[in-house]
Amino acid sequence: MLKTGDFGVLAAGMSTVAAFAWWAWFAPSTAADTALIRAAGKLVHSVPLTHARTLTIPGPLGPTRIAIEPGRARVLADPSPRQLCVKQGWLAHAGDAALCLPNQVSLELTGRHTPYDSLGY
């Protein structure tokens, strides 16, 4: 039933899954340096994670409050019924994101710093 090529395709599929798993879950994540805050899909704030401050973002359900601290950020309060983005707590890595979907506010961290300043070959 399975032919030689099928085994090749299955092996390729398994390596793809393994590569994705490593890349998405185990690859070292870089520290974040900027918080991007979107409301209704539009970027409203781009805040460097350098000093502590609190932002209030208006949404259709009410205000969402976001706390910024050196190196990390979190959603402090949100009018969403299930509070998923608040329960996520502090975000510190590039690529981390908290979505307050009913209120259409999102907080996403990006990082430009890699673990190395430069690499030579």
Binding site: M1, L2, K3, T4, G5, D6, G8, V9, L10, G13, M14, T16, V17, F20, A21, W23, A24, W25, L36, R38, G41, G95, D96, A97, L99, S106, E108
Partner: protein, 188 residues
């Protein structure tokens, strides 16, 4: 005597496509009743039909059946033109595109399992591409990528084996000479 109204000529091809699409639709509806732990992870049983159609009647018929299944599935499940519908359509388009190429793989070495796995990966790739571009732009959907890829591998393999077994059964049941012409609808 003149015929009243507009008459559309219905060819045998049309009837066959409709019958096969109904078959795929039945599996889609049955599958919608199965609870899934992760939204979007489904066995994709209708792809068994699509793959059988591709192997028996060619790519064009498979594309028709796939398109009709998604449209009618959207109507019956009440998801027509919702984000879920478009995700489904994007997945189907990507998987048909890959199948258009993959069906030319030498059949000596590549059976239905290869086609099914490749189509399943294309399916999630199409869905995730649309989701990343349109529904959740800029947000790391990538953390779920391994989950979707695993589902594609597992269900693609299972569906492919189902197709391979069905083909064996049909090869036994019917003489191999003119199965491509106008065989009866494959009974699943």
């Amino acid at each position: 005597m003149t015929a009243s109204g507009i008459e559309l000529a219905v060819t045998a091809d049309d009837r066959r496509i409709a019958r096969l699409a109904a078959l795929a639709l039945g599996l889609t509806l049955a599958e919608a009743a199965i609870p899934s732990p992760v939204p979007g992870v489904k066995p994709g049983l209708a792809n068994i039909v699509i793959l059988m159609v591709l192997l028996q009647y060619g790519w064009r018929t498979a594309a028709w059946v796939s398109g009709l299944r998604i449209l009618a599935g959207g109507l019956l499940l009440g998801t027509l033109f919702s984000p879920g519908f478009w995700l489904s359509a994007a997945g189907a388009c990507a998987s048909l595109a890959v199948l258009a190429v993959a069906r030319h793989l030498p059949p000596r070495h590549f059976g239905p399992v290869s086609l099914s796995v490749l189509a399943a990966f294309a399916h999630i790739a199409g869905q995730l591409a649309l989701a990343a571009a349109w529904l959740l732009p800029g947000i790391a959907i990538l953390k779920l990528l391994p989950v979707f890829a695993t589902a594609a591998l597992v269900f693609g393999t299972i569906n492919g084996i189902a197709v391979a077994r069905l083909q064996q059964r049909m090869a036994l049941a019917a003489p191999a000479s003119d199965r491509r012409q106008s065989g009866p609808c494959p009974t699943l």
